[in-house]
């Protein structure tokens, strides 16, 4: 399977087996009856029309193999592997970029044009496309476009600076919205738990504290399963 095919199969796998059922307009005497007519949601709670949109976007071919290869090189310059975390391509960021420029089509042209600009700059300097340069040559170009130019000292780099900024944004988003990115960030949410306030050591580190009067009114999780009862004045009894 070539790179393009493997990308495609990764994307299409997500919606395989989607059905097109919709709920009925007849009166539903019970909830369960209606539920049985609902679609499978494409794995992330989609409606039938949203699944159709996904299928259409995934079926479209936009970025070429060369463009995706260029994106892969740039992604890994932006986020190379570390001792503890994988690289952007390890996190399949190019797959995300391949999808998102089709899903948000206003990004198509900046992506395609940016890659053309990069290749033109590479050929001007080294007579080769960007992906065919050695590491030092690639970094030499990247160093000219990875930083803004507020004083206009590198006016001819303008399109490249703009393109690299787009690549950096999409790479960061694509990376940190994966399991690998969550782990690198240390993200600890999106799971059932009981929030019981800011940890003591964090409070101490920041110059803030809990007002005892305020905290006294807050939920004591030991009582969460007891059905609430109030007196006539709205004072909670349990």
């Amino acid at each position: 399977m070539d790179r393009r095919e493997s990308l495609k199969s990764l994307l299409i796998g997500g919606v395989a087996g989607a059905s097109l059922g919709v709920s009925s307009c007849k009166p539903n005497e019970s909830n369960t009856e209606a539920q049985s007519t609902v679609n499978d949601g494409g794995g992330y709670g989609r409606t039938p029309s949203e699944m159709e949109h996904d299928r259409r976007v995934m079926a479209e071919e936009y970025l070429t193999e060369h463009e995706l290869a260029t994106i892969a090189v740039l992604c890994d310059i932006i986020l190379p592997a570390t001792e503890t975390a994988g690289s952007a391509t390890d996190a399949e960021v190019p797959v995300f970029i391949d999808f998102i420029v089709k899903d948000l089509p206003y990004q198509k042209l900046p992506m395609r044009g940016g890659i053309m600009w990069l290749d033109a700059e590479s050929r001007k300097r080294y007579d080769r496309s960007f992906v065919d340069l050695n590491d030092a040559q690639q970094i030499a170009i990247v160093d000219d476009i990875a930083y803004p130019d507020p004083d206009g000292e590198r006016p001819e780099m303008g399109p490249g600076i703009k393109f690299f900024s787009l690549m950096r944004n999409l790479t960061l988003t694509g990376y940190y919205t994966t399991k690998m990115g969550f782990d690198d960030l240390g993200y600890a949410g999106n799971r059932p738990n009981l929030w019981d306030g800011v940890p003591e050591d964090v409070l101490a580190e920041h110059d803030v504290d809990y007002d005892p009067e305020w905290i006294a009114k807050c939920i004591n999780h030991d009582t969460r399963e007891e059905v609430a009862q109030w007196d006539d004045d709205g004072n909670l009894l349990n």
Binding site: F99, N193, K217
Partner: protein
């Protein structure tokens, strides 16, 4: 095309299944009435795994939650937003209005912020204070018993604070503030702005044995599969069905008009079945409109007959008028001392744990009505857009802007959780000229004439937004933060959101004692047809500096019990 009539006669046909319609369906069926609920979108149950987005990870979406298909992102549980395929609306030249329409059982309650604030005594009689707008024909004391029952029935956390115009209720205990909220408390108090625990309809504690208790994933906008937050399906309609209530749900059915007889009374509704595109009629002794303020106005205006030549309930020419949305403006702030944070799970409940109710004295200010402040921030779940602001923040701290590699990776972590924000939600003054009406030239894909909006802000709202922005800047500075971006000035109306963007539109069928200047009486019964009631935010005379949902429900409860009582007395 033949209209297909149903032989069954319902005691009540409820149009719409959100806060107002859901409450009506619950109260009416619990009182033994045979109820039809007609909803323009599909069936939805928050615990259905096929449609559930709660606890999904961003990588389960190929676009990582971007807003391509849903205005608030892939995982937000609203089907339908400011745009609905095949159901357009228009605006008068030179004006702007954004009209949110949920198309699903439970309506907008499946994704809303659960901010559940009672209106206060002043809110019902604000004309007495400043001479603007109109007083409600009811007082806080008349509605208080319904708010009290609502608190116990649905559940809302908060604290007793004894503030006159922010009445206390029957509260569950609130969650403790998060770190950025402690910063906000400190900054706001320094700026003379009070802060109290927020009041959200989320169960921090059990209120019955049917619904679950919050497990702190902060995703109420995804609609809770444990039914621990308020949604109209899970908390009003399903419980009523489960306890034997006779409710027939007609989903994917778009009501076109109310049908009337020779005496001008309602006989039922006509609707389009979205699946076979045929028109059907349902018969009912009463019709209860809870389709949302503007949708109910549209249905009334499209219900013309010999007896109601100007549209049903519109002999006063007031249907669609006095439309008003909450005002909104906000800022984002970067707080350098929140950099390099220890990372832990601080999800909490869906939404803010603290907020600021209106504190000002408008007699000393250059705008007449108040606003409350909502706070956001923290170490949220990464989604599409994460990492886009690294350069901006480096600029503020004098760090190296741009770059790649290990340095970039470190920057992402340094800035994670260091951005927060404040948003004002304020009261606009209801005006006769701000309205929606039928666009004579345009129909939707169901052949139903659509609404045209004609809405303009006045200086009352612009100056209020100016005050918001100035206050947020002051609070930001007081907590050692930096406002991100240039604060909007007069050229941008101080960041005032376009009408409709805050999704609190009310007032289109306002209540009153005088049939010449109002659409319904104080029980939300049409002056012109006594067996038609409106239970959404249409009958609101004014919006207050609160959110409208809790008041929609308290009033819908009251109107529904009025229906039961009037049916018993054979008055309708």
């Amino acid at each position: 095309m033949q209209i297909i009539e149903s032989p069954k006669v319902y005691d009540a046909i409820v149009v719409g299944s959100g806060a107002g319609g859901g409450m009506a369906a619950n109260i009416l069926s619990e009182n033994g009435l045979k109820v039809a609920v007609v909803e323009a979108g599909p069936f939805f149950d928050p615990k259905d795994p096929a449609t559930m987005t709660q606890l999904k990870n961003p990588w389960e979406s190929p676009r990582r939650g971007a807003s391509t298909k849903r205005a608030f992102g892939d995982f937000d549980m609203s089907w339908g937003d400011w745009e609905v395929d095949g159901e357009p609306y228009t605006t008068a030249e030179g004006t702007s209005f954004k009209w949110w329409r949920a198309r699903m059982l439970g309506g907008r309650t499946n994704h809303w912020g659960r901010i559940s604030l009672r209106f206060g005594p002043t809110d019902f009689k604000h004309k007495d204070v400043d001479g603007l707008g109109e007083n409600w024909p009811i007082s806080y004391d008349e509605i208080k018993p319904y708010y009290d029952r609502l608190d116990k029935m649905i559940g809302v956390f908060g604290t007793k604070e004894g503030r006159y115009n922010d009445p206390d209720g029957f509260f569950l205990p609130p969650p403790k503030p998060r770190l950025h909220e402690l910063y906000y408390i400190k900054g706001a108090r320094k700026a003379g702005v009070p802060v109290i625990p927020s009041r959200l309809s989320i169960l921090t504690k059990r209120i019955n044995t049917e619904r679950g208790v919050c497990f702190y994933c902060s995703q109420c906008n995804r609609s809770c599969n444990a039914y621990a937050d308020f949604s109209a399906g899970s908390c009003l309609i399903f419980p009523a069905q489960n306890s034997g209530g006779q409710i027939d749900l007609y989903t994917n059915c778009m009501v076109k008009n109310v049908t009337t007889d020779d005496e001008g009374l309602a006989t039922g509704v006509s609707y389009i079945n979205k699946e076979d595109r045929q028109e059907y009629q349902l018969r009912g002794k009463t019709v209860v409109l809870g389709a949302s303020a503007c949708s109910s106005a549209r249905i009334l205006l499209n219900s013309k007959s010999k007896q109601h030549p100007n549209g049903l309930g519109n002999s006063s020419d007031h249907v669609g008028r006095y439309l008003h949305d909450s005002t909104g403006a906000g800022i984002s702030a970067f707080v350098p001392s929140l950099m390099d944070r220890k990372v832990y799970n601080e999800d909490g409940v869906g939404g803010m744990h603290v907020y600021s109710p209106w504190w000002g004295d408008n007699s000393k200010l250059d705008f007449p009505r108040g606003y409350h402040i909502e706070v956001w921030g923290g170490m949220g779940m990464p989604a599409y857009g994460f990492g886009y602001n690294v350069d901006a923040m480096n600029k503020y701290i004098g760090g190296e802007v741009g770059g790649y590699g290990t340095k970039l990776r470190k920057d992402v972590k340094r800035f994670y959780g260091a951005v927060m924000g404040m948003a004002g939600r304020g009261e606009a003054v209801a005006r006769y000229d701000n309205r929606c009406e039928i666009d004579p030239d345009t129909v939707d894909q169901w052949g139903i004439p659509v609404l045209r909006f004609d809405y303009r802000w006045s200086d009352y709202e612009r100056l209020q937004a100016k005050h918001m922005i100035e206050t947020f800047q002051e609070i930001t500075h007081s907590m050692g933060g930096i406002v991100l971006g240039d604060p909007p000035g007069a050229d941008r109306d101080y960041g005032l959101a376009a009408p409709g963007e805050i999704i609190h539109e009310v007032g289109t069928t306002r209540m009153g004692d005088d049939p010449r200047s109002s659409v319904t009486n104080k029980y939300q019964q049409l002056h012109d047809a006594k067996n038609v009631y409106i239970v959404d935010a249409g009958p609101f005379v004014s919006q207050a500096d609160k959110n409208c949902t809790w008041t929609i429900m308290a009033l819908s409860m009251r109107a529904s019990e009025h229906i039961v009582s009037e049916l018993k007395k054979m008055n309708i």
